[in-house]
Symmetry: C2
Subunit: 188 residues, 2 copies
């Protein structure tokens, strides 16, 4: 089975080189743990979607997956609840210093976030420009606005500056992205 | 690595014998597709959580997982949004005709549902008594009430009759569990 193009590398890196280029994910996971521990929000990363072909039952309590394949995720990586509101987002890093390539996000992930927005949830993407050392939150409504008005294959940093919100890095929590949700006044 | 006791069989069955004893999951997935297609709600099943140990990169577009292990899920299987409200639940089948064994649900899954409730979400379990041909929805607050008041290791069918809601089976959607949410008046 061919792995859907465009995502294999990321997904595999995520698991095999956990500290190499996946700092954003580590930061988000740490932040979510902080939110959970302090009873601020309940937000989890979803497991990597795979299909399992072969399972070896060594013993009653030990099953080893011997063959499986990565599959295209049908939703985003993170969701949960904050102040009674449904939260849903995708997080991506880019090495570009000028723009975020839209091919980094699947079309059905954007469609998913659009549905979340239409059903009253809070959807967004978190994008880190690693070489600029800047992390932005962009709400789905502003992402959709860009997609409707522009024919570009990438979102320039200037659009994140204009419509997005910069997330300051801290010690604990590492990236307090829920502060942006409060700032925008979308929760009670 | 030993697979955590109590869940191996279910998880493996789920993948390898998709139509054998996993009717409830199939019914819920079909129902969720119906909700999604008709723009009623956005509720998805999370992927099975695993850790990946070995990946074989056959070619640029083809990665095969050669060794992975099941891990205990830290949350429930299903979550999403309905009428602006965060929805979260776990679904289980039992062959028992008298009670639902509590060992079928992990303690941290109950803790997770409790947190969801405390943060303003709607949490519940769906339990199917396969030999009785009955499927119930029990809200987390009623499950917690049972756990606080009783020292029993299983929830008798009578408790589901009294505090739970029976979900009638239909053709499309197969099990319209969101109707119970409407009935209880927990959404706007």
């Amino acid at each position: 089975m061919n792995y859907p193009s465009g995502i294999k590398k990321d997904t595999v890196n995520l698991r095999t080189y956990s500290n190499r280029g996946m700092d954003l994910e580590a930061d988000i996971n740490d932040t979510n743990e902080y939110y959970l521990y302090n009873d601020i929000a309940v937000i989890h990363k979803k497991p990597t979607p795979i299909t399992i072909n072969k399972v070896d039952y060594k013993s009653r309590h030990d099953a080893v997956i011997k063959e499986a394949h990565f599959i295209t995720p049908s939703t985003t990586d993170y969701n949960g609840i904050y102040k009674g509101r449904y939260i849903d987002f995708e997080a991506k890093e880019t090495k570009s210093t000028t723009s975020f390539p839209l091919k980094n996000i699947h079309k059905h992930q954007i469609e998913h976030l659009k549905k979340i927005f239409n059903h009253g949830g809070i959807g967004f993407i978190i994008v880190r420009f690693t070489k600029l050392n800047k992390t932005y939150l962009l709400f789905i409504e502003d992402l959709l606005c860009f997609l409707e008005c522009q024919k570009r294959a990438s979102i320039p940093v200037s659009y994140f500056e204009e419509k997005g919100y910069i997330i300051k890095e801290g010690l604990n929590p590492r990236i307090d992205y829920l502060k942006i949700i409060d700032k925008k006044g979308v929760v009670l």
